[in-house]
Symmetry: C2
Subunit: 250 residues, 2 copies
Amino acid sequence: MPAGLGCAMAIINANTMTTRPRKPGRGRTRSTPSPWQASRERHRDRELKREAVIRAAAREFNRKGYHNTSLDDIAARLQITKPTVYYYVTSKEQLLFQCFIGGVEQIRAAFRAVEGRRAPARVRLNAVLRHYGEAVASDFGWCMVRAEDQDLSPAMSRHIKALKSEIDHGIRQLIHEGIQDGSIAPCDAKMAAFALAGALNWIAHWYRENQSLTGAQIASAFVAIFEGGLAPRPARRRAKPRAARGTSGA
Amino acid sequence: MPAGLGCAMAIINANTMTTRPRKPGRGRTRSTPSPWQASRERHRDRELKREAVIRAAAREFNRKGYHNTSLDDIAARLQITKPTVYYYVTSKEQLLFQCFIGGVEQIRAAFRAVEGRRAPARVRLNAVLRHYGEAVASDFGWCMVRAEDQDLSPAMSRHIKALKSEIDHGIRQLIHEGIQDGSIAPCDAKMAAFALAGALNWIAHWYRENQSLTGAQIASAFVAIFEGGLAPRPARRRAKPRAARGTSGA
């Protein structure tokens, strides 16, 4: 596992983190005070604040672009000072990297979730693709699809490339398995993986949070399109396309 | 039609322009010399050189990114001076815009080509999508999908947005027509258009000219995937997916 992921894990599955922060010192911890528990509370509190810094950065990068965003902008969004931001991250570069990880980890978690399931590969692939689409439509989407293009250190770029490659190979593997178990029609798995990931990645270019559809709804609509294809299924409406072809001479 | 397209039209359908430049003064023009024809030759010569400048810019932007590319880099690629580049374009910004137009015009030409055809809408859509894929895999692909993100003048950004919107609506329209003529399965045309365009746009992120597949081959593979979908067609292999579902309990 690439370095830097361990501490980034905390920022996944944290959609509620800014709306429902946990309150230290409540519940059982109060009735059984312990210096070790207090230490854990402090650690959790620090992680929550770090996550808030990363999410604020993701929103600013998304809104203004990476190069046009300063750490001052991010600090201003959280109503804190720049030195406080530096307490949680060492550089703007690291912030972008953590935003990338924040999105990509949602997809990696989806792969892990389907790993042991005995469902047909297409069902498992669809589950991964839904999480993929949701991740790209999340705050981290912009950073997920753009991080590699920015002027990051060679080490960070290598990390990002390696994680993207891991996800690409995961999708291809599920397509191969689907072709083998009969749940996916024979196709060029590499091209299919590029088409699916491309369609999903592009969501970051056009999706805005205030649209009528949520990220999850868009992801589900995309999966339905990938799955069924544009051509009508013969069992449902065999006659119509033939009639259309007959008149066109095509 | 947005301004600036007229002169940009010359750079479309010009795949051979750098490999087979037309030679002024040969053929019939030599036997019937005319100051008007000579003027036309000069105009054509100027257009060829302008196209070469735009294509060289597209390649440099693709290789190094827009902000990291200077007019000196583009001049060096063509072994000319920077003032010579300025003879053909007024700014780097205009170059990026013309590169964008160079790609987008290939797609607009594809729409015009299918406009009068009586083929089912899915057949017409597929023809457009193939040209779309080829355009994104061409020298202009990077500029097509990135131009809007760069710091262009508001007027250029508006142009680019308007042209992208025109193409998006063109795709949606063909999907709607396909649903009506029965050649496309009922679906959310807006989401389908986003998915198709996204998959194709993303080609610009991963395609390199020296890959084993040409742009046309990739575009065709994508169209086959969009058309057929991942789920096997019932007529061909109805039994297998059901058997797979049976064992999984999903």
